[in-house]
Amino acid sequence: MKLPALTTNQKLATVAVVLGALALFSVPHRGPVVTLDTRELALIVDKEVDHVTPSELAAWIVQGRSDYRLIDLRAESDYAAYHIPTAENVTVAALPEFPFLRTEKIVLYSDGGIHAAQAWMLMQAQGYRAVYTVLGGLEGWKDDVLYPALPAQASGVERARFERAAALSRFFGGEPRAEGGTVAPLPMGLPKLAAPVSSGAVSPVAPRKKKKEGC
């Protein structure tokens, strides 16, 4: 049997159709198995470029930046009691199935730093690159942002820094310690959830509209 003569266009169209039909069976997305460059990861950990300090995070929130997603890894009840403003709640167990985009910048935090660091490793193993943890977790947030302390013999620079931290602290509903010069004991509780951001009483910078509210 003789095949009918095809024009170049018809041949190309045929090739496209064949490739398209083969593509029916394609799996163009990565599965759960990826190759990790352990040396690269070790370098990231060593150079501590995978951290966001609580003060940096606080500044981002005040500026109303929306180019990142803040993820609270703790249990739902803890999240309901208090969470850093703008945070979304995703428990560690739910993390592998959560539909993050791999082009998103993701900032993780837990109570201390361990769960966040483990979750960071999980995310790396899934091919998420732009993942960061809050240095010190919620404890760090409490110490640095909510209840900043002024050292007993503070220098001028330290005092200026403390003034800025105190303004941030009040903005987030916290309470700066030792304004009179004596270090008060660390308040054990956390501010009421309604207090941060919405009050805006002593906001250092007027907060712009938040992208994600009430999540």
Partner: protein, 195 residues
């Protein structure tokens, strides 16, 4: 291993150099397809020359098959490729505005640059219009910001929206393209004689 930029194989400077090389190649093939001439492009809208439709759809099919197979081979991580977020209604309106400009001016933004590069005066005027239009858009943006950002669907793809397998959408687009090419040839035969 790809996208190269996201995996840090080259930095900002290298990516700008590559953008120049790729852009030059793009412009070269636009010119080779005859798209440096407004007559050729306007003919699309009078239906006697469907080159624009054919070239653009060929590019879509080629690129789609390319990224599908590269992703299948594991050479390209599709989830790292940036997609422009979808805002359905604003983008339909924007597409219509661009379409009107295309018919009136005889170029789309890319082809106007190719035309400018070959020294055509209408291409120069069109490129000037793009600059002026961009400036006006930037100035009125505060008033239309709400509309521009409405209907946000995020970075979505057709397989996600219709909940279909990736391969099925690829095959369907190829079939639509081939059917479109046949139809375009028929349309050219029907209207081509009148020109």
């Amino acid at each position: 291993m790809a996208p190269f930029y996201k995996y840090g194989f080259f930095g900002d400077e290298m990516s700008l150099i590559l953008a120049f090389v790729l852009g030059t190649g793009f412009g070269f093939f636009l010119e080779r397809a005859g798209f440096g001439s407004a007559r050729k492009l306007a003919a699309q809208f009078y239906l006697y020359d469907m080159s624009v439709f054919k070239v653009m759809f060929t590019a879509i099919v080629t690129a789609m098959l390319g990224v599908t197979y590269l992703g299948w081979l594991g050479w390209l991580d599709l989830s790292l490729v940036y997609l422009v977020p979808t805002h359905l209604v604003p983008q339909i309106v924007g597409g219509l505005v661009l379409g009107v400009g295309f018919v009136v001016g005889g170029y789309c933004p890319g082809t106007s640059v190719a035309s400018l590069a070959t020294g055509r005066i209408d291409g120069f005027v069109y490129a000037f219009g793009i600059g002026a239009g961009t400036l006006v858009y930037a100035e009125v943006y505060p008033w239309i910001k709400g509309f521009v950002n409405s209907n946000g669907m995020g970075q979505v793809t057709l397989p996600e929206v219709f909940d279909l397998p990736w391969g099925l959408v690829v095959f369907a687009v190829v079939l639509i393209a081939v059917a479109g090419f046949s139809a375009a040839t028929l349309v050219e035969r029907r209207f081509g004689d009148e020109a």
